[in-house]
């Protein structure tokens, strides 16, 4: 702004530059907003509570959680990107069947690839891999965001939402695995190959498995605590932020009698 005043002779090129800068700034803030929405504020696992079925069913160990999280992430990026690419050609009456087709195709591809390259994990995840199709987080993002925004933003949105979902899966998996079996990263070599078998950590030595943590009810309870923690943090942040000062409304005394 100060430049404008100092060099008036450049005034002609200024508006275009400014516009570009403004555009770039807007884009940057949009990416920031997308990341913030996906990872925290609108996290598909914690806030939108989408995809609860896989979230609760497969998070008995970190490995399973990470495997399903990665698969969902891949599908989410792929479907968001494709939906965004084709958004101008799809009539809005038939958009939902087309989104479902695209998502199903991506899930099947990911499933085949996992079957080929991470066979043990594919066996462990079982039915929950094909069930990614029914994860509402995916069609939700396709409908709410990807179908209205350009490729780059849509892919980025998929990435952030996917990472947000995966983080919750992994945290939940870690809690349940430590409480249930006393280990971390048990069976990680199924996902990452033999070199990773050294990652396994024995955190606690349990004589007996803590059943509640392993069974789905344990997942519900752990999930409840995670949501509670998130809400607590949110309200702390809100408290700390300086409240916009309430403007005291000055009452105008209208007291006719006194005068």
């Amino acid at each position: 702004m100060t430049q404008e005043v100092a060099t008036p002779e450049l005034a002609d090129s200024e508006p275009a530059d400014n516009e570009l800068q403004a555009q770039r700034a807007a884009l940057k803030s949009e990416y920031k907003e997308l990341a913030w929405q996906g990872l925290w504020k609108n996290n598909p696992g914690l806030v939108q509570l989408l995809g609860l079925c896989p979230l609760l069913a497969v998070t008995a160990t970190v490995t399973n959680a990470l495997g399903l999280g990665l698969a969902t992430l891949l599908v989410l990026i792929g479907s968001n990107a494709t939906v965004s690419l084709i958004r101008h050609w799809v009539p809005k009456e038939i958009r939902i069947p087309i989104f479902v087709l695209i998502i199903a195709a991506f899930v099947t591809c990911v499933q085949l690839l996992m079957n080929a390259f991470t066979y043990g994990l594919y066996q462990a995840l079982g039915i929950f891999l094909p069930l990614i199709v029914t994860n509402c987080a995916i069609i939700g993002r396709a409908e709410a965001y990807a179908s209205k925004n350009p490729l780059a933003q849509a892919s980025f949105d998929g990435l952030m939402m996917g990472i947000g979902f995966m983080l919750i899966l992994v945290v939940l998996g870690a809690i349940r695995e430590v409480l249930g079996q006393g280990t971390l990263f048990d069976g990680i070599e199924l996902l990452l190959g033999d070199w990773a078998s050294g990652l396994r950590i024995q955190v606690l030595n349990l004589d007996n498995q803590f059943l509640l943590a392993i069974l789905p009810p344990g997942a519900f309870i752990a999930m409840g605590f995670l949501i509670a923690i998130k809400n607590a943090i949110d309200s702390k942040i809100a408290e700390r932020q300086p409240k916009p000062e309430e403007k005291a409304i000055e009452r105008v005394r209208v007291n006719f009698d006194a005068s």
Partner: protein, 210 residues
């Protein structure tokens, strides 16, 4: 109106074709790898329960399909024949324990030619995690307690969990699962003793049907 419907149908069809083509392509690319993975997994299990040192035939190829009441149900089960220089050594039989706590338990039972159990592994089950899932080798070595056991006419009553007066432990909190597994292994061993000569003289292979 009609035009719109036609246009939408065309677009839908195009997308369906494109998606199917993509899936088909990926399937074509991964098919071989998946088959190899399945084969490797199967061979690993087979080598766990039949000592690979004493076998020198291709276990994966020499298999039969059999159906018998003693194998749990009337589905066809696979038998892998292990030979050393064409002499029968052992066989691995897939079997079903139909009375698990939640659904069928799929097992593979390897038997030496003299009838003793060479090893047992659980292939698939839906037993309660933490209780019944101790039939998995990953969770507990209980399944190895069958090794070297022999079913004879006299000791059939011993083929039961200790709660029923048998020689196999049950797990804390789960009796139904081990009971089902013990019964399935016993029946498979009996089946093998009755049919072993016939099995090793068969020349067909289950791979031909594929």
């Amino acid at each position: 109106m009609r035009k719109a419907i036609e246009k939408n149908a065309r677009i839908l069809a195009l997308f369906a074709i494109a998606c199917t083509a993509t899936v088909g392509l990926v399937n074509e690319l991964t098919k071989g790898k998946i088959a190899r993975q399945e084969q490797a997994q199967l061979l690993k299990t087979l080598h766990d329960i039949i000592d690979p040192e004493i076998v020198n035939n291709d276990l994966y190829q020499s298999c039969l399909l059999v159906t018998d009441e003693l194998l749990g149900n009337n589905e066809p089960h696979t038998v892998y024949l292990a030979k050393h220089d064409e002499k029968p050594v052992a066989a691995a039989i897939t079997t079903t324990a139909p009375d698990g706590y939640s659904g069928n338990i799929e097992l593979i039972v390897a038997l030496n030619y003299d009838g003793t159990v060479s090893g047992v592994r659980t292939l698939k089950h839906q037993e309660t995690p933490g209780l019944g899932d101790k039939v998995e080798i990953k969770k507990s070595d209980w399944i190895t307690s069958f090794t070297d056991k022999l079913v004879t006419a006299d000791n059939q009553h011993q083929w039961a969990v200790s709660k029923d007066g048998g020689m196999f432990d049950q797990f804390t909190g789960a009796t139904i699962t081990p009971r089902a597994v013990v019964k399935a292994v016993k029946n498979t061993a009996l089946y093998f003793q009755q049919h072993k000569a016939e099995l090793f003289s068969r020349t067909d292979s289950c791979r031909e049907n594929l």
